[in-house]
């Protein structure tokens, strides 16, 4: 039955998430301006507040939303406080999701406790990961893989204890030649070259890696399957599967920031005597209020596309198209919303005395990582038109 109300436990959890988020927000400016520092694993206030996330499964009733939907709402609630700073840092990274999706039982057992980053992007390839140059060569004598290459934009790259690296075992095989490898920090030949300096999400841990004759045991191949298929590749698809929930999650993360911008702007408008009312006509609505309403509609629309993709996941239904819809929609929505809020508030919007200018910078990544807006449009268009990747490039 179509319903958009939150259940009683949904409400409680989101409220607790927002409480934590507001604590995190107090530290937002500091870590934005001190890019070289990382926020601590726990903020000093953490001891006073029960972790909201731990309560996700407690006291849930039939009236509450499914876990994927709730997960999106919680992500939004967290980034509404701040993108990078958390009351308590969650363990795990993108690489852990890949491990769960494609790892063998033994690998899950061995690596499950690690914080695994995911290294795909290279200086010369981003949106087209089939062109990775980082190579893995099997040394049959020692039963080791030898990894060589460079990786950039590695999320959680500095703090991670290990990484899942995309490398090719056969450059001529293209996508089919790409495999994922588990590499722990401290392995000789694996160097964290630097922490990236960014427009926004500055407190976030984004690293660049270099692998130089880095040797890892043979069983560090994710999924354990060494066969290089001639056509298609279970390995590649396996890793791509990871993205069906991460696309809406990235959308949700961006929308949390956009919501913070909207809430701030609405509050400032009210202080200035501009009320945002629904249902009024053109003549009776001031220009700033009209602009705000447009942005609010955009936000609401975008949020619902995220809810849709997550709801499908909760139902166990395919959501490839919907994931891209949410990612593409939110990607452009958060840009328009934060830019528009600054437009509405004028000089106040650009002042670093407030967080709005930071939210503009922070949310800009939404339309880039985890598949750019253009890549999402490619995915949607192919599905819509019934085209394969060779028919629409």
């Amino acid at each position: 039955m179509i319903d958009f109300r939150l259940g009683p436990n949904d409400e409680k959890l989101l409220q607790a998430t927002r409480e934590e988020a507001l604590v995190a927000r107090k530290y937002a400016r500091y870590y934005d301006e001190n890019e070289h520092e990382f926020p601590p694993d726990e903020l000093p206030e953490a001891t006073d507040l029960q972790p909201a996330l731990a309560r996700m499964n407690i006291g849930r009733t039939a009236e509450d939303s499914s876990i994927p939907v709730l997960g999106m709402l919680i992500s939004m609630g967290q980034t509404w406080g701040d993108y990078s700073v958390r009351l308590r840092r969650q363990k795990g990274g993108l690489g852990n999701a890949a491990l769960q999706a494609s790892g063998t039982p033994e690998q899950k057992q061995r690596w499950g406790g690690e914080t695994l980053a995911m290294a795909i992007t290279e200086p010369g390839c981003g949106s087209d990961p089939s062109k990775v140059q980082c190579s893995a060569v099997l040394d049959e004598k020692t039963n080791e893989w030898v990894i060589n290459g460079e990786k950039i934009f590695v999320t959680t790259g500095c703090r991670a204890t290990g990484v899942v690296v995309w490398a090719t075992v056969d450059k001529r095989a293209g996508r089919a030649g790409i495999k994922s490898f588990l590499i722990p920090k401290g392995t000789p030949g694996f160097v964290v070259a630097h922490k990236e300096k960014k427009l926004g999400i500055r407190a976030d841990d984004t690293a660049a890696y270099v692998f130089q004759d880095c040797r890892i045991p043979r069983d560090h191949l994710l999924g354990g399957d060494e066969k290089v298929a001639k056509q298609g590749s279970g390995g590649f698809r396996g890793v791509m599967k990871t993205f069906n929930m991460t696309r809406p999650a990235v959308a949700a993360i961006g929308l949390g920031i956009a919501e913070a911008a909207l809430d701030f702007t609405r509050g400032e408008l009210e202080k200035a005597g501009v009320l945002v009312e629904y249902g009024g006509g053109l003549a009776g609505t001031s220009a700033p209020a009209a602009k705000f309403l447009q942005l609010e509609a955009l936000f609401e629309a975008s949020k619902l596309t995220v809810m849709r993709a997550a709801w499908l996941a909760g139902e166990g239904k395919p959501n490839n198209m919907e994931s891209s819809v949410s990612k593409a929609h939110a990607g452009s929505a958060v840009r328009a919303i934060t830019q528009g809020c600054i437009e509405i508030l004028g000089p106040m919007g650009i002042s670093r005395d407030h967080l709005l200018e930071k939210w503009l910078r922070d949310c800009r990544i939404t339309d880039i990582y985890e598949g750019t807006g253009q890549i999402q449009r490619l995915i949607m268009a192919r599905e819509l038109l019934g085209y394969g990747r060779d028919e629409l490039k």
Binding site: Y278, L304, R308, V325
Partner: protein
Amino acid sequence: MISFGLTEEQEVVREAMRDFAAQQLRPIARECDEASKISDAFLDQAWELGLTSTQLPESVGGGGEARSPITNALVLEELAHGDATLAIAAVVPSLFANSIVDQGSEAQKQELLPLFCGPKYHAASLAVIEPSPLFDAGQLRTQAESKGDRFVLSGVKSFVPMGGRASHFLVIASRDGAPDAFVVPRDAEGLTITAGEKNLGLRALETSTLELARVEVPASARLGGAAGCNVRRLLDGSRAALASVMVGLSRAVLEYCVPYAKEREAFDEAIARKQAIAFCLAEMHMEVEASRWLAWKAASELERGLDATRSAHLARSYAAEKSLWIADNGIQVLGGHGFIREHPVEMWFRNARTLGVLEGTVAL
């Protein structure tokens, strides 16, 4: 619990409406538009779907089914996918009847609702819009003054759908500065109905202009008893419904463009294989989806008796903006053919532009 799940019954209704729209609405849409007229045969056929009567109480001869704004949203999207004009024409009587069910007195229900339980299309319509620039349903020029135990209505109403056929009008007028609603029969003294307005779009809707020259109605003609009519609630419902009509129209444009773009070639390949076209189609799809969920959210709040003013406003304004963008770009995808009346896209563009300015006043 956030859920996008349809009930089995809703799935069935949606399928049935999709078929009906494809078989009965789409094929005659162009000829109705050109003639600015809808045949009785179509209206009677649509009437047999029971869109109006099944949701009326059994005591007046209706089907006694609970009114469901969610089901109505699904129905409207499907019908409007066939043709927005014909979809609205089919449900115009519902908007009048539902207003009576929602806020009418027992006497009004007994008198008016049986009219909609017969075997043939029966028109009654809402008169909200006024032919003035910057029209705002919250600030009406049409006035209702008290005169003893009667009300006197003065003003001009326009874009009254199916006005030429309507037996009654629900006239929204300002009483002491706030909007209120009055039932006015077509033969009321002082009421002049001019049928056949000429508009950009929704041409076949047979809209009329009503001139109210001191039309007197008894106090009992007002909706909502002593407190007066809650016009806002009425408009919330109409705005949510209008959003679903726009979603249906938008989807029609998209689904027309997709096969066209795959068939049409330029520079030795289908234009759909070019990112300029493919991305445009992807964005259309994205916005059809986003608009639909907003419409559903508003409908689901209405269904549960919640205050839906915010969500209805956001749904209507977003769908209005996006449906116009989609129809406009639909023309662009078809190029010169988009401009030619042999294809329906130019008609959908005109309809989208028209729907967008109704500001909920074609209160469905």
